[in-house]
């Protein structure tokens, strides 16, 4: 008889268990009612690892002990770097932290605020997809972002540079929109184009995305470059000469920029239109370094949407993993069941089988909602470590854009584009993000 057998467990009686269950379930309600924090799940792990490597100090404002009984917003996270700086992947954003930088990340009401005390942070923020925007606050300057890459530097003055997308800079009653390749400074509150030499980050980022035309346009700040880039992005049906002509003759008003396309939603409701003179006085209108994209007619947009959806459907989808020998699965339902029930020994196996399940649900069973749910599980549980992230994110695009090119579709395309640039699929995704 083992020692384990010599120490039997005395069971709790049913009455005690019942009372305990009631107390636990009652306590669970408020604890689980907090806003979901899935995108921040890797935050502490990745952040702590990166910080440890870079010899920085990470102080969680309130430990887990206190957090366990706390109902409300999570405790703020404070970060301070030494002379080396570091990089943090915080789920909602990737932050390159400059040397001697101090900031605090506060999460409340589903939104995220980075309170910059000193130094420099460069953020890459995926589209917020309907969630409250991310803010960076540096003294009396607030930067509002819904999906873009930008840098905020706080010393004697505050500077904001946008590498791609656009952000809103708030200071008191003043509001300025800073777009790709532009810089805002608290010295004069003006938005100016980055010089070619200054904008290496923007150019590098865009070039890395496979958008050479956009990169050169951002660096040179020329409207011709932007037009060429837009034509490239929108695809063959666009009549480039006609677009030039429409712009030259003062054609229809330009549609919102791609970054703005991610910002639709209740809280992004625009204020009523102001008189044009008032708009002219606003700093964000003062120095448009990048020309707005040309607008298209409804017929052109419809044709574009059709072409894009056809191209979308033509892109290959990664295969599902092979079922082990001896597995009997002749129908799609049986294959889905097999992927769900297969045993696995490694994380890669688990990721592969979950991908197989999602693929079967989407392409064979045409159960889009089930497939999207499975895909979201996959992203949530495996992220980039499962080996199928590219396939998973692309299948999300395909499912969400199957019917129409709406906001969820564009958000999915943004998500794919942020991770996998420079491929044929990324080109299609880019066009989707720009199709309005």
């Amino acid at each position: 008889m083992s020692l384990r057998d010599r120490v039997p467990v005395e069971p709790l009686d049913e009455v005690r268990l019942e009372r305990l269950e009631q107390r636990v379930v009652a306590a669970a309600g408020p604890l689980l009612a907090r806003p979901r924090r899935a995108p921040w799940a890797p935050w502490l792990v990745a952040g702590t690892a990166a910080l440890a490597a870079a010899a920085v100090v990470l102080a969680v404002g309130a430990g887990r002990e206190r957090d366990a009984g706390e109902v409300g917003a999570p405790a703020p996270v404070r970060v301070a770097t030494d002379e080396r700086g570091t990089r943090l992947d915080v789920g909602d954003a990737t932050i390159d932290v400059g040397p001697a930088t101090r900031f605090e990340v506060v999460r409340a009401g589903g939104g995220v605020t980075v309170e910059l005390t000193a130094g420099e942070v460069t953020l890459e923020v995926p589209p917020r997809a309907g969630r409250p925007p991310l803010w960076v606050r540096a003294g009396d300057v607030g930067v509002r972002v819904v999906g873009t890459g930008f840098r905020v530097r706080r010393a004697a003055t505050v500077e904001v540079e946008v590498t791609h997308g656009a952000v809103e800079v708030h200071r008191g009653a003043a509001l300025a929109t800073v777009a790709t390749g532009q810089r805002w400074s608290s010295t004069d509150g003006a938005v100016v184009a980055l010089a070619a030499g200054d904008d290496s980050t923007a150019a590098d980022t865009l070039a890395a995305d496979g958008l050479a035309a956009d990169a050169s346009a951002a660096a040179a700040g020329t409207s011709a470059g932007t037009l060429a880039a837009d034509a490239l992005a929108l695809g063959p049906p666009v009549d480039l000469a006609g677009l030039h002509e429409r712009r030259a003759t003062g054609g229809p008003k330009a549609p919102p920029s791609p970054a703005r396309s991610t910002s639709a939603g209740p809280e992004r409701a625009r204020p009523p239109a102001r008189p044009s003179a008032a708009r002219e006085a606003r700093p964000r209108r003062a120095a448009p370094a990048v020309a707005p994209a040309p607008s298209l007619s409804a017929a052109e947009l419809a044709a574009l949407s059709g072409d894009l959806r056809r191209e979308l459907a033509a892109q290959p989808i990664a295969p599902a993993p092979l079922l082990p020998a001896g597995t009997t699965a002749t129908t799609a339902e049986e294959r889905a069941r097999a992927y769900r029930d297969l045993g696995f020994k490694t994380r890669a196996d688990a990721s592969g089988f979950l991908w197989g399940l999602a693929r079967t649900q989407a392409l064979e069973l045409e159960k889009d909602s089930d497939a999207l749910r499975t895909l979201d599980y996959h992203v949530k549980r495996f992220g980039s470590s499962g080996g199928q992230l590219e396939a998973v994110l692309w299948l999300r695009v395909r499912l969400l854009c199957r019917v129409r090119l709406d906001e969820p579709c564009r958000a999915a395309a943004h998500t794919y584009l942020a991770r996998f640039a420079g491929t044929a699929k990324a080109d299609v995704a880019l066009r989707i993000t720009r199709a309005r």
Partner: protein
């Protein structure tokens, strides 16, 4: 096959909990309460304060559920929390726990038979001896020898290396056998139970 099904079950269950479904929270509690209770019982040696400890474990589980990343199974993740709770309980109330064990596990009037009485006495003495160990050594020993977990799993749930875990179990055995040299009842229990 069963592992994968359980894994998907965990995913669905956690997601339902995070959606605020009370039934899911109840289901999670029911699925894991037995194992967590057994672990706490074997580490602590009795049911005194068990309600409070179980509640503390599951409150921590629900408050941290969003941080579960599915890298470990949900059961292992919950066990880690249970072990942390047990550790803190031992460390903070070491003297009191030792006293409670003597009271709780003393043979009752219903117990008959010399052998069973001797076994219960042996268990009581075992936990009295365990109370003299460091919390780390006690946890490692009880999780391995009494809860039946492999050393690697003990290392995982206690957040220590395998080497450190082996060392702690070995030190606990050595200390217990030193005590057993002067206590024939404890010595008989350890000899019968293979705690060497």
């Amino acid at each position: 096959m069963a592992a994968h099904a359980a894994y998907l079950d965990d995913l669905v269950l956690v997601d339902s909990c995070l959606d605020g479904q009370e039934a899911a929270a109840r289901d999670l509690f029911r699925r894991h309460r037995g194992r967590v209770h057994a672990t706490l019982y074997r580490v602590l040696g009795g049911n005194r304060e068990m309600d409070d400890l179980l509640q503390e474990v599951f409150v921590q589980v629900f408050s941290s559920l969003r941080s579960w990343r599915a890298e470990a199974s949900l059961a292992t993740w919950i066990d880690r929390i249970a072990v942390r709770v047990a550790w803190r309980h031992i460390a903070q109330r070491k003297a009191r726990v030792a006293l409670e064990l003597v009271e709780v596990d003393a043979p009752s009037a219903e117990v008959t038979g010399a052998r069973r009485a001797s076994a219960r006495d042996g268990v009581r003495r075992l936990y009295a001896a365990l109370a003299t160990l460091s919390p780390a050594a006690r946890l490692a020993f009880t999780l391995h020898e009494l809860d039946g977990r492999p050393l690697a799993e003990v290392a995982e749930v206690t957040g220590t290396s395998l080497t450190a875990t082996k060392l702690r179990v070995w030190r606990a055995r050595r200390a217990l056998h030193a005590l057993a040299a002067a206590d024939p009842v404890l010595g008989e229990l350890l000899a019968d139970g293979g705690g060497s």
